[in-house]
Symmetry: C2
Subunit: 410 residues, 2 copies
């Protein structure tokens, strides 16, 4: 029983969080490409980062700061250049970004987190970046609009900004969890995802905040795949500033579980948005696995299906070619009996069983095509093995994915 309300807003929805953005001209022209998030008071910080061996400079900076400092108070984000594959110079730029931000905001550089997204291998134009920070600092605002503008500024090949916020009650106090994130290529998180920034005014201990985030990332961002490429920059940051006024959560009680549910809602909604706005995508492609023998197997099966190029192309073609989906389950590494599995397609337009007892059901191709023509489609596999389930999110594979990525730098 989840009790929460979905509200308008994103990273500034929670009390005491402000945002600003600006067009710093880092790589894009004529659009905002930098954002800043600020908490009026120090906020307990948690983070999860890419498991890619090649880690961007800001990932190294943030990981170190989140692990050694209890709190953070600001995040400086740029789009266009990833600051990855940039060596010692890139690390120095990170430090300078935090120092510039810290001095303008009158906080320690060790309270400033940094995030970058864009092309790998180029150095940041540091003067433009610093000018951007100077531009943003005096313009911080707690309005929903400033949060929305920030969610637009961090986009790269995203076609839509991505924000979610919810409110719920703890100790009679209203608590808010809100966030923004960006995709939309090099998306196959193996630890956490792309860039996602979630803020909350709940009061909670550092340890529980980190644990709640780490656990939830496994079922949300880590279940998204756009193209199988795990980025060098994947970062999820979660800041909790305690301004809701609840008694600090220090154990896994009912209040902690309420927070977990709210956090899960926000993370899952952001993850779905990333999948739906995958590069070139025309549809959100969801794979649900039910009645699996273990949770891990359910997850591996679901993720194998949404990662399969052929399944993704079939979704694009509205083609109920279930062999490709079953094939992707088969090479996932999970053992199962192909004769026992039952397969379905479903969407707003209906639900159809396509495979049973090891063969195709006598289904209507036309009806299947109609179901697959919606902008959110689900492939459902009933494993008939146990009680575990999982959901993974991807998108279809389209001409535009190729176009975007063959031309990305030009």
């Amino acid at each position: 029983m989840v009790c929460m309300d979905i509200i308008t807003g994103g990273v500034t929805a929670a009390k005491g969080f402000q945002a600003a953005s600006t067009a710093a001209g880092i790589k894009y022209q004529g659009r905002a490409d930098m954002a800043m998030v600020f908490s009026e008071v120090p906020a307990v910080s948690a983070g999860t980062f890419t498991r890619n061996v090649v880690k961007a400079a800001p990932v190294k900076w943030d990981r170190e700061v989140v692990e050694t400092e209890r709190c953070a108070q600001a995040v400086v984000i740029n789009a266009g250049i990833a600051n990855a594959g940039t060596g010692a110079e890139g690390m120095a730029y990170c430090k300078r970004t935090a120092e510039t931000g810290g001095s303008l905001l009158d906080i320690s550089a060790r309270q400033v987190l940094v995030a970058s997204t864009g092309v790998i291998g180029m150095q940041l134009p540091m003067e433009k970046l610093e000018a951007g920070i100077r531009e943003m600092a005096p313009n911080l605002s707690g309005s929903l609009e400033s949060g929305h503008q920030a969610s637009c500024a961090i986009m790269t090949t995203d076609t839509k900004p991505k924000e979610v916020a919810v409110i719920f009650e703890v100790d009679g106090k209203m608590v808010t969890v809100g966030g923004m994130c960006k995709g939309s290529g090099m998306i196959h998180p193996n630890m956490c995802t792309m860039l996602s920034f979630v803020t909350t005014d709940i009061a909670i201990s550092k340890e529980l905040l980190q644990e709640a985030l780490r656990e939830d990332v496994e079922d949300t961002y880590n279940m998204v795949s756009v193209d199988g490429d795990t980025s060098t920059n994947d970062t999820v940051l979660l800041l909790a500033n305690g301004m809701a006024g609840n008694t600090e959560i220090r154990e896994k009680d009912g209040n902690y579980r309420k927070f977990q549910e709210a956090l899960h809602y926000v993370n899952a909604a952001l993850a779905r948005k990333i999948a739906a706005d995958g590069e070139g995508a025309t549809a959100l492609f969801e794979a649900k696995v039910i009645h699996a023998d273990t949770k891990e197997h359910a997850k591996v099966l679901a993720k194998s299906v949404v990662s399969s190029s052929l399944s993704k192309a079939a979704i694009y073609g509205h083609d109920s070619n279930w062999g490709r989906f079953l094939c992707a389950m088969g090479y996932s590494g999970v053992e199962f009996d192909p004769e026992a599995v039952e397969l379905f397609f479903q969407s707003k337009a209906g639900r159809i069983q396509i495979y049973k007892d090891g063969v195709s059901t006598d289904y209507s191709e036309e009806e299947a095509a109609r179901i697959l023509s919606e902008d959110e489609v689900t492939f459902l596999a009933d494993m008939k093995m146990g009680d575990e389930k999982a959901v993974a999110w991807g998108c279809d594979l389209t001409y535009d994915y190729v176009k975007i990525n063959a031309d990305y730098r030009s």
Copy 2:
């Protein structure tokens, strides 16, 4: 020191091997879609098959026959329908194919191997298949042309037939190894690949034939990826009929090593052809990893790069966006120091170093684009860790890949 000559021909190049093909109308119209390979005398058989949990009926049939019978004498192949996801009915069709072939060729059904490629989930039109077998049996011929026609008949979305043959000397006798194979989608072999049929007139024991094939598949077909999808039907069959007249090879002596080298040449050449003719491909995309700490790591790194959608799209765009290639190495699961690695692109048009000491080299983008515009391009990673190396083969990711797979069944 390899001593062999590359000769014209394929599956009928070796002594005593015949082939035939016909247009049975199984799914395609107006083109040959069935082939038969026959050895005048029983041939020692070896095979490797897909590790996909979902195995096509012919894979199950062949595996059982190869494991329990020392010899085989014929292979019946159809394109258009994969006979996978077809349950007990599909298995019965396999058996009937072998029985029909066996009775017409006057051999036991247990000497007849079967292979299918095409759409998953449809049942074979058995009358057409049997008519095709009756058509082919009297037309078997040992000519190179009949082998070539067979290599055309087994194509699905392939744009080119794929044949290779070599000759070398054993005990003063000329020995031939030749083969044909087909791709070109659902290609990410995790055991062996697609359909490949290799014949040789060498005399060799069953155990050594199987061992030579099993080992070589790991470095050839298993290093190819077109789209990351491991098929339900992947099959490599190797038949050795002893008609070259050499003393049977029964131990790992110099003659065995000569055979290994010839087999490797044929398998590697066929594997490269599959990659180069990947669905929609405009270029063969080769990844070479040198100076890795272990052979396994070298292979994992090379395969991760050729499997990366973003790297493949960059090859299509002739874009030296090396961050994507380094990123794909980074998420492969292999530990390495990104600051130590050196990266290069090379092709017939030249060679260029693009990454060193953790940052981009000061290379010319124009020169890199010129190098990447060839129809065979190589990404080279020098790990600086040891002496092991590996090569993987893939292709670029293009609009046509999407087109082919969004429309495949229509």
